[in-house]
Every structure is written in structure tokens, then in C-alpha cells.
């Protein structure tokens, strides 16, 4: 039991939805999305730097109903007195307790642990850690509202990279990330929560748009190799679109 927080009853459950029992399951068609997007269209995106006053760098990102905020602290001295010629990038990914359909606990679960690791793997190739010996850069990401978990991770990577740029930490390029979903042989970009429930697989691409290099790919689900290649292509194009939004918000922050 967690004694450091106000604890309620031992077990709480989400009530069953009345309409869910009666409604027929509808099959999702990427050509007819609820918000009238085309399969290769992202949700509209808003980004802003300087969301946390005391952080060295910070950013806020909103796309559709998805809301992510990120704070970067450092470079600061590594707490363990271990000598290393390279800096470390410490990433923590957290869902706010109220951000998902079911309430999340404060304790880190396996998904958050996996996402923290992905975040670190996607960002560290871009950061000049060789210039930061004996130092740590802490990247904290908090998801305030989640609408599709893979797209939340993509948004977190984009947001964190923007915050790193805001902190003035030297990077080779900013990292833009984008997710794609598969349903049968069809591919579609940026699945929201409802679409994610129906997809048979997903792909997440982290990409440095100016250098034209990939930092991280993760794909799950059974799909043909052709579909994967096609998904990579449309993700690369989408990352370039995200890049222009990132550049614009960075320019606004300087003006």
C-alpha cells in the first residue's frame, strides 16, 4: 500500500457502458475517418515552447485531444560519481492519472517504462552527448490527455525534442516522430484512441528531417513488408510536415 498518498478504497472499477452492450461493432475504414481526415493526414497540431518557467527548456504539444507537456533539466552533474566521457540522457514518460480511459496509478507501470526507454532511444542519437562529459540531461514528459497510445508516444518524442532545442542543448537535428496504423493491407497515419482499438498493427518512426536520417523505428503486428515500406514513406513525409511546425514554434520563441 502506498502510504505517501491519500488512498481510497482498495479496488475501484470502471462501470460497464450501457450502449456498448447493444451497439453493433463498426468496422473502421481508413477512407472514412470520424474526423474526416484522409488516411495520410495528421491531426492539426499546436506547439509552444517555454511552458515550464523553471526548466532549462520546455514545450507543450497538442494534437486533436492529445495533450503532452515536457520539461528538460540540465545538463547537470550526474548524481552517481561515475566518470564517463559521454553525457547521459535520462527520459521519464508519465501518463497523468486522469489522462486515459481507465485511471492510471502514480506508480510507473510497464508501458510507461517501455515508453521511457523508447523516448531515450529515439532522442539520444540526435543529442551531442559527447560534448557533455560527466553530465545528465533529464527529460520529463507528462501526458495530460491521451488519445491513442502510439500517437501519444510519437507526440512525446516530438515535444521532448522541441524542449531540448528550447534548452539550447546541442543536437545534430531535431527529431520529429509520427505513428502509422495498419488495418488489413491498409495504412493510415496518426491513429486516435478509437482507431487504435481496431488496428492490427502499428509503426512508430522517429526521424531527423534535415539530415534525412532515422533514429528509431518500432513496428508491431503482422503486416506485409510492402505495407511497412509504404508506411515508412508516408511517415517520413509526415515528419517533414511536423518539422515545419516545430521550426515555426522555435522561431516564435526567439522573436
Amino acid at each position: 500500500m502506498d502510504r505517501k498518498r491519500v488512498s481510497g478504497p482498495d479496488k475501484t472499477v470502471v462501470p460497464l457502458l450501457e450502449s456498448a452492450a447493444t451497439a453493433l461493432p463498426t468496422v473502421f475504414d481508413p477512407d472514412r475517418r470520424k474526423d474526416e481526415r484522409t488516411p495520410e493526414q495528421l491531426r492539426p497540431m499546436f506547439m509552444k515552447t517555454g511552458a515550464v518557467r523553471q526548466a532549462n527548456g520546455s514545450a507543450y504539444l497538442e494534437t486533436g485531444r492529445l495533450k503532452v507537456t515536457c520539461g528538460v533539466y540540465g545538463p547537470r552533474q550526474t548524481s552517481r560519481s561515475k566518470m564517463s566521457t559521454r553525457g547521459t540522457l535520462n527520459c521519464e514518460f508519465k501518463f497523468a492519472p486522469f489522462s486515459c480511459a481507465k485511471r492510471r496509478s502514480y506508480l510507473k507501470d510497464n508501458q510507461e517504462r517501455e515508453y521511457s526507454l523508447t523516448l531515450q532511444q529515439a532522442l539520444s542519437p540526435a543529442v551531442r552527448l559527447d560534448l557533455l562529459p560527466k553530465s545528465t540531461v533529464d527529460v520529463y514528459v507528462q501526458v495530460l490527455e491521451c488519445d491513442g497510445s502510439t500517437s501519444a508516444l510519437a507526440a512525446a518524442i516530438t515535444c521532448a525534442s522541441l524542449a531540448l532545442a528550447d534548452a539550447g542543448i546541442e543536437m545534430l537535428d531535431i527529431v520529429a516522430a509520427c505513428s502509422a496504423g495498419f488495418i488489413g493491407s491498409r495504412t493510415f497515419l496518426d491513429a486516435d484512441g478509437e482507431e487504435e482499438g481496431q488496428q492490427t498493427g502499428s509503426l512508430l518512426l522517429s526521424y531527423m528531417p534535415s539530415l534525412n536520417e532515422v533514429t528509431h523505428i518500432i513496428q508491431s503486428g503482422e503486416v506485409s513488408s510492402n505495407a511497412t515500406v509504404k508506411a515508412l514513406e508516408i511517415c517520413v513525409d509526415a515528419c517533414s510536415v511536423i518539422n515545419t511546425v516545430m521550426q515555426k514554434s522555435l522561431v516564435t520563441s526567439i522573436e
Partner: protein, 298 residues
């Protein structure tokens, strides 16, 4: 080209070298108390406020759709988000009709370099515990309104208050956010099926809660004994001799008073702070009313 002669007399360079000067940012870091004292002697604070002025409370409700009720509150740069999730739980055997209201304040490492990742620190724990005691003992809402089926199922309201940007006075901000989110909260109509012992809820959320009280906290700090600082910031907080939080409910009521040790305080100061807290209460409830009205128009 003619070079201008130096403006000072020959004796001046030696004098300039003898006076030691620091730029304001360095001075603030080296002598924080003296830095603030210089401002206060001019009756102004380092953020430009007069001593007896609260930061304006900016409230926004209903922005988190995954929560049953939500609010975002800003006091200066201090930003907190409260999201309330309603889930179903078994009631306590002693109180078969009463639901639960479980407030928790989280100060993640994201919001300030003062906090570390991991389990909640001392500040987060005390604020959570105080707010929990406050709302549950002053009967902000009738917990029996949260009953679905007596002895079998009740609503448990998890009110999680997350700080996104820390600039001091978390208690005031957290309580405003909690109260605004409670007013924004809409519960679905729920029915208990005894045969399967399950609870079914509608997707539509029509039920608003009746709030019997409306506590608003106002925090004050004393600096050097005679300066009273309203709504202290994170820079001022560590320098204060004592802090006092007064929680009032409208024109008459008083819900709580918290003075966690520190320097002694006279009765006059206490009375002055209580009056100021009443004014603050009116301003805050007006701000919340405005936010709720704005949301209804949307």
C-alpha cells in the same frame, strides 16, 4: 579623430575599483534575503506586485475529456491541472451509502528543479493530506449523493491534481483547481444489477453534484517580522519567517487555518489576513463562475 578625455577625475578609478558591484541575477543567488529586502523597503516585490496583492487566478474548466470533471488553474506561473475520474467501488461497511472523494496532489519532477522523480516528497504529502482533511471534514459535498446502491456500489471520485509549473503557493492553486473541477464534474446515470453484481452506466453524463461549501484558501507569509506578503512565490517561500493559510467559505464561514510553526504572529495580523482571505474568496469564486459560464457557451 579626437579621443574624448575620461569623464571622471583622476581619483575616481581607484574608488570605482573599491566599490564592489554585482549584477541583479547574481545578487539574487548570493544574497536572496537581502535582494528581496531591497524590494520590500520600496513597498514592492521582485515580481512587481505590491505586498498585499494576490496573483490573479486564471481558471479553465472541462479541457480534459478523458476525465469526468477537470480544471486548469494558473496563479502567475504556477499551473495545476485537476482531473476527476469517477470509478465504482464498494462502500465501507460502517457507511453503506457514502462514496469516496480522494484528492491527491502530485508535484512531478517536471514542474521544478526542487522536486525529484520517485515517491512524493514532503510538500506533496502535506498538501495532499491537508486538502483531503479539509474537503472531507468540512463536508464540501454530501458523500451520500455518490451512492449507487446502498451497501453494494458507490462512486469513488479520484481527484488528481498535477502541478505543471511550480512558482510557489501550491496549496491555494490546488484547492481552487479541485473546487473548479468538482463544479465541472458530471456523472453518468448508473444502475446496479444485483443478479450479476455489476454497475452499468450511460455514456451521457447528466448529473452535477451539489456542493454545500466552497472553501478557498489564501496563503500569507511574514518576512522580517513586519512585512506581510500575500500569495508568496517560490523565491519568497524559503525566506519567510512563518506562513499562514486561511481557508474561508463565503462571507461568514471558516473551514481551516494552518500555521505550520514558524515565527509568532500577532492577533492584528491574523485578523487582517482573515479579512483579505474573504476578499480573495469572492475573487476566486467569480473567476470560477466565469470559467464555467464560458464553457457552457462553447
Amino acid at each position: 579623430m579626437q579621443i574624448d578625455p575620461p569623464a571622471h577625475t583622476p581619483g575616481a578609478p581607484a574608488a570605482a575599483a573599491a566599490t564592489f558591484s554585482l549584477d541583479p541575477e547574481t545578487f539574487k543567488k548570493v544574497h536572496p534575503a537581502e535582494y528581496h529586502r531591497r524590494f520590500l523597503s520600496q513597498n514592492v516585490r521582485s515580481d512587481g506586485r505590491p505586498l498585499d496583492k494576490f496573483r490573479k487566478a486564471l481558471v479553465n474548466v472541462g479541457s480534459i475529456t478523458t476525465a469526468h470533471g477537470s480544471a486548469m488553474v494558473r496563479l502567475g506561473h504556477t499551473t495545476v491541472v485537476c482531473g476527476i475520474k469517477a470509478e465504482v467501488a464498494e462502500p465501507r461497511p460502517a457507511t453503506p451509502k457514502e462514496g469516496y472523494l480522494i484528492p491527491n496532489v502530485d508535484l512531478p519532477a517536471l514542474c521544478s528543479p526542487l522536486f525529484r522523480p520517485g515517491p512524493p516528497g514532503e510538500l506533496a504529502q502535506t498538501v495532499s493530506e491537508y486538502i483531503n482533511r479539509l474537503v472531507n471534514s468540512s463536508k464540501v459535498l454530501n458523500l451520500e449523493d455518490l451512492c449507487i446502491a446502498s451497501g453494494a456500489a458507490v462512486w469513488a471520485l479520484h481527484a488528481d491534481i498535477v502541478c505543471l509549473n511550480y512558482e510557489g503557493n501550491i496549496l491555494d492553486a490546488a484547492l481552487i483547481a479541485l473546487m473548479a473541477a468538482l463544479r465541472n464534474l458530471r456523472l453518468p446515470t448508473a444502475t446496479y444489477h444485483e443478479s450479476e453484481s455489476t454497475v452499468h452506466a450511460t455514456e451521457h453524463r447528466p448529473i452535477a453534484l451539489v456542493l454545500d461549501h466552497f472553501p478557498v484558501a489564501a496563503t500569507f507569509g511574514t518576512f522580517d517580522g513586519h512585512h506581510i506578503l500575500y500569495d508568496p512565490t517560490d523565491e519568497e517561500e524559503p525566506l519567510l519567517g512563518s506562513q499562514i493559510t486561511i481557508v474561508v467559505d463565503g462571507e461568514e464561514g471558516m473551514c481551516g487555518l494552518l500555521k505550520p510553526g514558524g515565527a509568532a504572529m500577532t492577533r492584528e495580523v491574523l485578523e487582517r489576513c482573515t479579512r483579505a482571505a474573504r476578499d480573495r474568496c469572492a475573487d476566486v469564486s467569480a473567476a470560477i463562475d466565469l470559467a464555467l459560464a464560458a464553457q457552457r457557451i462553447d
